[in-house]
């Protein structure tokens, strides 16, 4: 049985809501079948006020062994490093986070905010938010680059805005069943089992991408074409299994015609949402995508694209997703 404490810092509860959509295991299974001992959670916790505070302090002092400490949301440091922009159970949340991260065997950041600051850390970062062990792509964050939990692990980042419920539950089950050693992390501390592949891996539009056929317009246009060329889709540059493990068991943003915004990467939201950057591909001289698929350079990309367009069969210029 693994004990879990789940806190929210500068959070929207989106990861919690995502987690509640989980199946196999669902939240009830996790607790009744996998014996997960959810000590407290902001939405699911039973204890209030005084009793809840005692439980938190018992974890801090080691009276209650804490196996997994999960943080959702940013660590808020403002104003002036005091953390008073986010008070929780009688003290700045950042102080709880520091104490509990030290007390826990394993620390898990769920969602972009806890991983690297996410949207609250977007300029001008009014709350002085940061992630647990990264600030955007920079190592350090709140706990510092050298932080290791009691089990000797860095913070495990499960990014995404929100994280998919499977990414959360499978890692929790792995940790709870003694498979922490099997979790290979990438350089951003993301479990490679989920984040080695690209968002584009498994995208239903990938054949349009193969022949460089772009979507012309939202709505009816999304019945054909790839969203990379005009709508700023980051599928080829973003690491996630969104098209391998579908959302809500049904679909993904790119399948439904929405460009990937790159929300599992630390730069999200990209370009700090500057004017002209939302749902629009950034281009060089109005034609060539400024960013090309990972591992390409502009010259080889253009050569490949030219060849692909010549090779494009007629069906790649027509609707594939039809009534």
């Amino acid at each position: 049985m693994a004990s879990v404490l789940w806190f929210q810092g500068g959070a929207c509860s989106g990861n919690t809501m995502s987690f509640l959509n989980a199946t196999e295991p669902n939240v009830v299974d996790l607790i009744t079948d996998f014996g997960l001992d959810l000590l407290w959670h902001p939405s699911l916790g039973l204890e209030l006020g005084h009793n809840a505070q005692k439980l938190f302090w018992d974890c801090v002092h080691g009276v209650r062994p804490l196996d997994i400490f999960i943080l959702e949301g940013t660590v808020i440091k403002g104003p002036y490093g005091s953390g008073r922009f986010d008070m929780f159970a009688d003290r700045p949340m950042k102080d709880w986070v520091a104490d509990l991260a030290t007390a826990a065997q394993i620390v898990v950041a769920i969602g972009d905010c806890a991983s690297w600051g996410g949207i609250p850390a977007t300029a001008p970062n009014p709350s002085d938010s940061t992630g647990l062990q990264f600030h955007k792509r920079e190592r350090g964050g709140f706990l510092g680059a050298n932080f290791r939990s009691k089990m000797g692990l860095p913070v495990i980042n499960i990014p995404g805005c929100p994280a998919h419920p499977d990414w959360i539950t499978q890692i929790i089950v792995a940790l709870a069943t003694g498979r922490a050693g099997d979790i290979a992390l990438d350089e951003l501390h993301r479990p490679q089992t989920f984040f080695k592949t690209f968002t584009q891996t498994g995208c239903t539009r990938v054949q349009y991408f193969e022949y460089k056929q772009g979507t012309a317009s939202f709505g009816e246009g999304t019945r054909k074409g790839c969203l990379f060329y005009e709508f700023g889709c980051r599928g080829p540059m973003t690491h996630s299994p969104c098209n391998r493990i579908l959302w809500n068991r049904q679909s993904s943003k790119t399948r439904a015609g929405m460009p990937c915004t790159g929300c599992t990467e630390p730069e999200y939201p990209f370009f700090d949402l500057a004017p002209g950057t939302v749902f629009k591909t950034q281009k060089v001289s109005g034609v060539v995508p400024k960013e090309v698929p990972e591992g390409n350079d502009h010259l080889t990309y253009m050569a490949h694209a030219a060849a692909a367009r010549i090779a494009a069969p007629q069906w790649s210029k027509e609707d594939m997703f039809v009534v």
Binding site: G14, G49, F85, A89, P126, G219, K253, P269, P275
Partner: protein, 535 residues
């Protein structure tokens, strides 16, 4: 008996953390302070950004009602850019908004609210054992299936929007998707699965149609006793249990209500404007004060920051709104105690007053006369409030009632989709403009005011249902709706003030919407229950 100050921090299970301070005298709450204690500054982040940034940023204000944030952010841009929204897009947006709410209704009820019905303070009730059997967390016979099935309606959201939470698929001019036949048929199947397995089998014990036949409180009481299936359904049981443990007797609130309405009749809102909004709504808007209905007018909204941790003294309209945070420690010295602003609404002759937002407010608006044929007219909750008054129970029933309504409407919208027509009309991205977009999140009125200048956001203000309900006192010292609702609540056991939780949670406030809470009048930090001789 001396007055007791109870400080409950964290209250928990209100989606985010709510700290509540109440003064209790002779077992009754005599005053209350609700304190939102977390600040992220989304409105500051949006300033100077791409006009469409709100489509990405505002859903992240609250992951519980992210689809609602997206819905009103898209309409704010539609108004500002003077777009055309084709009927198919209006239908898809309606479906998305409704599916998010249908997810929220059972998830909120079982996971956040009903757990407290198993509190040991109610052990003397003859229905207590049954309440525990049904509602105990994780193992309750109703808890587990309802919480698991709550993820069904948002599968439909994912079919059209890619994922829930946090898609940004509604854009000015329509929606990004162009569904195929199987998207629609699968959505219908998922919706019917949810209706069969949760709404009718577990919650109602009867058909949706039978429940919607109830037009008065007397009808509801007859319904409960009509047959065993209804009597023993979760709804039938909930009504009986509420009346046994007294949840029908406190938590009334300010008694004045605000609904900005939601769901547009496709043919009535192809060219979204502020002026054309009210008459295009299916789920109507309306302000109800002292027994009288008024038409909702966004120009009458103000945000007061007298007791909020922001600079500024004057109550401002959101188009001129400011968000200038101060260190809460300095704020406390000025009598401020919350990160929530205090939204107020000007009623002619009464000045700026606090209004309750949420499902009960929507149900009261639905009881107003003169509904157009396509608009919701439903007298049930006006009758209930007239007959038995507002309470924790009535507020909950209003929320649950909407499950049947929204199911029915969503099914109709799915049937209306014309797969051979367009879902998007590309708009002109004007360099400047002003827009107002609004909807009803599960927990109440949610609105955006956007000002675009020189192709970027010059001002962006969001007023959430949580702010309407949980906002602190205003400059006139008028209590916010939850504060007011807490006054008069019994507290049987100061060590376990479950009643305070019932009242606060009956508003289903997503605190993360506005963000959290802290101390009040004295400025003292009370870490636990503190007995205070004279308040």
């Amino acid at each position: 008996m001396p007055a007791i100050d109870l400080f409950v921090s964290p209250l928990g299970r209100v989606e985010g953390d709510l700290d509540v301070r109440v003064t209790v005298e002779d077992g009754i709450v005599t005053s209350a302070w609700t304190e939102a204690a977390m600040f992220r500054g989304f409105e500051m982040i949006l300033k100077g950004k791409d006009p469409q940034a709100g489509l990405i940023v505002t859903p992240r204000i609250c992951g519980i009602c992210g689809g609602s944030h997206l819905y009103k952010a898209a309409y704010a841009l539609d108004v500002a850019w003077r777009t055309q929204v084709p009927p198919n897009a209006t239908l898809i947006r309606n479906i998305g908004q409704a599916c998010e709410t249908m997810q929220s209704i059972p998830r909120y009820f079982y996971a956040l609210f009903a757990i407290d019905l198993t509190n040991k303070n109610y052990a003397r009730s003859p229905l207590y054992d049954e309440a525990v059997r049904r509602f105990a967390p994780y193992v309750g016979t109703s808890y587990a299936p309802a919480v698991v099935l709550s993820s069904k309606p948002v599968e439909i959201y994912a079919i059209f929007g890619g994922q829930w939470p946090h898609s940004s698929f509604m854009v000015p001019g329509g929606v990004m998707c162009a569904p195929t036949l199987s998207d629609v048929t699968r959505s219908i199947a998922v919706l019917e699965n949810w209706r069969n397995n949760w709404l009718e089998k577990q919650w109602l014990g009867c058909s949706v149609e039978r429940w919607l036949d109830n037009r008065t409180w007397a009808d509801v009481l007859t319904w409960v006793n009509e047959n065993e299936s209804q009597y023993n359904s979760d709804c039938g049981f909930f009504i009986r249990y509420c009346m046994d443990i007294g949840l029908d007797s406190y938590g009334a609130g300010v008694g004045n209500y605000l609904a900005t309405g939601t769901y547009f009749e496709p043919s009535m809102y192809e060219h979204p404007t502020i002026d054309g909004r009210n008459s295009a709504l299916i789920c109507r808007s309306g302000v109800y004060v002292d027994g009288r209905w008024w038409e909702f007018d966004q120009a009458r909204v103000r945000e007061d920051v007298t007791h909020s941790f922001y600079r500024g003294t004057k109550a401002r309209h959101p188009f001129e709104g400011e968000t200038r945070p101060i260190d809460p420690e300095a704020g406390r010295r000025q009598g401020k105690y919350s990160w929530a602003k205090s939204p107020r609404y000007e009623v002619p002759g009464l000045g700026y007053i606090p209004l309750e937002a949420g499902p009960l407010a929507r149900r009261i608006a639905a009881g107003a006369p003169n509904a157009a044929p396509f608009q919701d007219y439903d007298p049930l909750f006006v009758d209930m409030v007239e007959k038995i008054g507002s309470s924790v129970m009535v507020r909950q029933l209003a929320r649950m009632h909407e499950a049947s309504k929204y199911y029915t409407w969503t099914r109709g919208w799915l049937d209306q989709l014309d797969l051979h027509e367009t879902f998007y009309v590309k708009p002109v991205e004007h360099e400047s403009g002003r827009g107002f977009g609004s909807t009803e999140a599960a927990r109440g009125s949610l609105s955006d005011w956007i000002v675009i200048e020189d192709g970027k956001i010059a001002n962006y203000q969001v007023v959430t249902p949580t702010a309407w309900n949980i906002g602190p006192r205003d400059g006139a010292q008028l209590l916010g709706p939850i504060e007011q609702a807490l006054v008069g609540s019994p507290v049987l056991d100061p060590e376990d003030p479950v009643e305070v939780g019932h009242v606060a949670r009956s508003f289903d406030s997503c605190l993360v919407c506005t963000v959290h809470a802290y101390d009040g009048k004295t400025g003292r930090e009370l870490s636990k229950f503190v007995v205070n001789g004279a308040v």
